[in-house]
């Protein structure tokens, strides 16, 4: 299939036609308080349960409740779902749900030509129009020419539907996102039952709210049907997927489950210490609920203390982990250096966001790569990994813990704002099939030469935890004498220890799967290299270009240090390289430093992910520029 599918959603009649489409992109947009994230997530869950493949892109402002009705306060949630493999949340929505003029103003430019715009026309009153910067009502003039527009008085219809639930006016009006969801369910032929069950669970303590939202959802479905709002019902069949049991998962969920699984498989207590920071806090919220897995969560007084507590727990024999974002990674640099020197296992997850400084707290960027690789004083190498999709966070969290424990080293796992909040269908792994995580625990005084005697193959030092009789010893941030671990200022020893620590991290390459092409073949005209959350977009772009006959391959890196052993030779088999990343060229710089390869960059720093079309255009440009 070539190009992005745009549905023809213009209302052309009153008949009820059913049309099957391969995929569709919907964007829900409204005020921060309109519940657009909940609405979008419910649609995604429903689509997933019905077997569609999907990818989601939540996008919200840093302010919790920006002034109502302003452009700054618009929150949105985009989903692409389909009966075929879906790799990205989609470039342009086929259907925009705009709950107010500001949402329309911000998001209309993205809507595909001929797309459907579904609005709550009651929200288009004078004051709201003015707040959104509209001089005239766009529903009343020709602003929306070329789009299919369906205007429904959602607020009034919702309030009528929930009139008997005993809610306040305000509470009743807040149910209108489920009314809108009902409309969209009808349009895309979705089963409302999973949402009804979810409402029961969610509002178990407030049954009147469960009931009201159920009624609002039902009213949306009824209104769509009774008023024949949409000429066509779109059907999206189940996507082909390997057999098995599936669930929907967000990046934050996947990381939480990965950390818990890793701790269980290592037989260690998980000590997760964190300071609230967007977009990493969700991980703390998730883990704090899993106390029956013995998870110790600690909300520290600051970012430094969070890392410190995790290192203290690791000294005591626990699996210490933290998550943070750029500003917090700055503050954790000191502790990471200590963990490098003390050679203690520690996993720090960095949910990257736009920087520098406070930057764009809720928007994705991949600009912490070089910080993760090098952002410590002294020679302080450590392994750096990156998750590529929301669900991939599970496997990468386990991989990070496995390396940290086996090699007695801090590990940084990079993720970003889109991955944390984004969701996808996920084949549920069988925990019994996940191998145990090993650590060089040591309790035998007869074979103990000192805290810095090393394992011959991994170069890891032994992990002798307090409470072990007859092995009392001291470690710390001062340089250690090889083997004995005594404080040493000996020049030769320092050089040896610096080299040993670097060699230990280099040997982590044994844990790194060989780089393999996602698309294309060796010898193609161009190789697109990416890392992190851009996997779906780059893969989709390469597929589209290949369908047009372009000889383009793609490769995605999950291990940034050490890089896969075969990467250098593999890069050498392509005449041209394009490194696509959401920064100004950090991976490109790293590849050049490591392999001396010249690459071109596709670089975007707008607080937004790549669109497939942007990557396709860059591929075309590179191929045209061919000598």
């Amino acid at each position: 299939m070539g190009g992005v599918t745009h549905l023809d959603l213009r209302p052309v009649g009153t008949g009820r036609e059913r049309q099957t489409v391969a995929r569709a992109v919907i964007r829900f947009a409204g005020d921060s308080g309109d519940g657009m994230q909940v609405t979008g997530n419910r649609f995604a869950a429903t689509a997933a349960v019905q077997g569609a493949d999907l990818a989601t892109l939540p996008d919200f402002p840093a302010e919790i409740r920006a002034p109502a009705g302003t452009l700054a306060g618009v929150s949105s949630f985009q989903i692409q779902f389909g009966g075929e493999e879906i790799l990205t949340p989609g470039d342009r929505p086929d259907c925009l749900v705009a709950m107010n003029p500001a949402a329309l103003k911000v998001h209309l430019p993205a809507v595909a030509p001929g797309g459907l715009v579904l609005v709550d026309d009651e929200a288009f009153a004078e004051t709201h129009l003015r707040r959104a910067g509209y001089a005239a009502n766009p529903l009343a003039d020709d602003s929306l020419q070329g789009y299919g527009v369906v205007a429904v008085p959602m607020r009034r219809l919702t309030k009528e539907a929930v009139a008997d639930c005993g809610l306040t006016n305000r509470e009743a009006a807040r149910c209108k996102n489920f009314f809108a969801l009902g409309l969209v369910y009808w349009l895309f032929d979705r089963d409302p039952e999973p949402t009804r069950r979810w409402l029961e669970r969610k509002f178990a303590a407030r049954p009147e709210l469960a009931q009201a939202n159920r009624l609002a959802l039902a009213a949306g479905l009824h209104v769509a049907e009774a008023l024949e709002l949409f000429p066509v019902v779109y059907r999206v069949g189940p996507a082909p997927a390997p057999p098995g049991r599936y669930r929907q998962i967000t990046g934050a969920d996947a990381l939480a489950l990965g950390l818990i699984t890793a701790a269980a498989k290592a037989g260690r207590t998980l000590c997760y210490a964190s300071y609230p920071i967007t977009p990493a806090s969700d991980l703390l919220h998730r883990l704090a609920r899993y106390k029956n897995f013995g998870v110790v969560t600690f909300q520290a007084e600051d970012e430094i203390a969070a890392a410190g507590a995790a290192v203290g727990a690791a000294f005591g024999g626990a699996l210490g982990a933290c998550a943070t974002s750029g500003p917090g990674l700055d503050l954790k640099s000191e502790t990471l250096g200590l963990a490098v020197m003390a050679e203690l296992p520690l996993v720090v997850i960095d949910a990257q966001r736009g920087g520098p400084s406070t930057g764009l707290p809720t928007k994705p960027e991949q600009s912490d790569l070089l910080h993760a690789l090098f952002g410590r004083h002294g020679e302080a190498p450590l392994p750096v990994l990156a998750a590529a999709t929301p669900g991939d966070g599970f496997a990468m969290a386990i991989a990070a813990c496995r390396i940290a424990l086996r090699y007695m080293t801090p590990v940084i796992l990079l993720t970003d704002a889109t991955l944390m909040n984004g969701a996808e269908p996920w084949p549920i792994p069988d925990p019994a099939a996940i191998p145990a995580l090993d650590a060089p625990l040591h309790t035998d005084p007869a074979t103990f030469l000192g805290p810095y005697q090393r394992d011959r193959s991994t170069l890891a030092r032994p992990w002798v935890v307090p409470g072990t009789p007859a092995l009392e010893h001291r470690i710390g941030g001062l340089e250690k004498e090889d083997v004995t671990g005594q404080v040493s200022y000996d020049p030769e020893n320092h050089q040896r220890m610096v080299e040993l620590r670097a060699e230990k991290v280099a040997r982590v390459v044994a844990e790194v799967p060989p780089a393999r092409l996602e698309e294309g073949a060796e010898g193609d005209d161009l190789l697109v290299v990416g890392w992190g959350s851009t996997l779906g977009t780059i893969t989709e772009a390469a597929r589209q270009a290949r369908r047009r006959g372009r000889r383009v391959a793609s490769l995605h890196l999950r291990y940034l240090h050490p890089l896969p052993a075969n990467l250098g030779p593999l890069l050498g088999r392509f005449p041209r390289l394009l490194v696509a990343e959401l920064n100004t060229g950090q991976l490109r710089w790293w590849l050049r430093a490591r392999y001396g390869v010249e690459a071109r960059g596709l670089n975007k720093v707008q607080g937004r992910p790549f669109q497939v079309a942007e990557v396709v255009a860059a591929i075309e440009r590179e191929l045209e520029a061919a000598p």
Binding site: Y246, F293, G308, A310, G312, A470, G477
Partner: protein, 340 residues
């Protein structure tokens, strides 16, 4: 993990490392007392962990034959908190100095105290930065001339005890390096306190701030310049305990010196370390030379839940309620579907 400890001698707690403080440093005396107290507690040696920050005092773990972690400047309370949270059965001690605990690490200290983590914090207060060669510290008196304040410091000093009390510390004490018997008593009381124990130790830096505490602890003056606090006992001092402290004045009574023979013992202020509110402890901590003798001993000792116990209780309650975690159920989550 409370196996019976073998009978230890203090030297069983001496590591094989050569002690490298300046000759004459007050830290030596503290080290010996710590070794002696550790040997007497009936705790197996491998159960001790001494965590320190950066500074002269923070070198102490290297000289103790226990588990030790010499960490980052100011961060020892944070690191020890993670350790205590996951290994509550250990005896965790923090060794720190006035710069380490009150300047760069002030935030970690107050949060460790307010959470009541079961750690024992020994703050060696010498009112100067020693390891960086003699800059004034957050406890240096105003006007102190140092390398960084050639014309005298203009900072007001911080009072460690009132900071600790303000943070809600459940055990707050002060002692002096040269008063080894007093030091030993206070450390033993700290060791058996169930929550966070905060001990300020006046410690002489004979290189950069020699004699800072001589006006209080000098052999000839200490009977008049210090007053020992004992729970339930009146505040008496002087060579023959002939002087005492009475509270007088309105609307807020203030401590003043009285002659016991004149006012009678019944009029003296009686120390109550176990008072639920910290007002008396604050008042005592505010007693300053030269108008008043400076109190040493235990200002406050109250029982509060330990942080790590609260955390552990939530975990065991969750396990009682939901049963131990089932990984397969966790990974599946509440909503699944089958692809044939």
């Amino acid at each position: 993990m409370t196996t019976a400890a073998p009978p230890y001698r203090p030297r069983d707690f001496a590591s094989d490392q050569q002690v490298r403080w300046c000759p004459g440093c007050g830290d030596y005396a503290i080290l010996h007392v710590v070794q002696s107290v550790f040997a007497s507690l009936g705790i197996p040696r491998e159960q001790f962990v001494v965590v320190s920050g950066i500074g002269c005092a923070s070198r102490l773990p290297y000289y103790l034959e226990t588990y030790g972690f010499h960490t980052l400047h100011g961060r020892a309370p944070a690191i020890a908190t993670g350790l205590a949270l996951t290994r509550p059965e250990l005896s965790v001690w923090i060794v720190t100095g006035d710069g380490d605990a009150l300047s760069i690490g002030g935030n970690h200290l107050i949060h460790c105290l307010r959470r009541n983590v079961g750690v024992k914090i020994l703050l060696f207060n010498n009112q100067v930065y020693g390891l960086t060669k003699g800059q004034y510290s957050p406890t240096s008196p105003r006007g102190m001339v140092s390398g960084s304040t050639p014309f005298g410091s203009v900072d007001a000093p911080l009072d460690p005890l009132r900071l600790a009390l303000g943070a809600g510390a459940t055990f707050v004490a002060r002692t002096v390096d040269v008063l080894t018997r007093h030091l030993e008593e206070v450390l033993r009381a700290a060791a058996t306190h169930r929550g966070a124990a905060f001990v300020e130790i006046y410690q002489n830096c004979n290189i950069f701030n020699d004699g800072a505490f001589d006006p209080l602890a000098g052999r000839d003056v200490r009977h008049d310049a210090l007053v020992e606090l004992h729970h339930g006992a009146p505040l008496r001092f002087g060579k023959d305990l002939d002087k005492g402290i009475v509270l007088t004045g309105a609307p807020l009574p203030a401590p003043v010196v009285a002659t016991v023979a004149e006012v009678g013992e019944a009029a003296l202020l009686v120390h109550d370390a176990h008072r639920d509110d910290a007002t008396l402890a604050f008042l005592l901590a505010g007693m300053a030379a030269p108008a008043l003798p400076v109190p040493i001993g235990i200002f406050r000792q109250v029982e509060r839940p330990r942080f790590e116990e609260g955390v552990a209780e939530q975990i065991s309650a969750a396990i009682r309620r939901q049963g131990p975690g089932d990984l397969a159920a966790l990974l599946a989550g509440p909503e699944t579907w089958e692809v044939e």
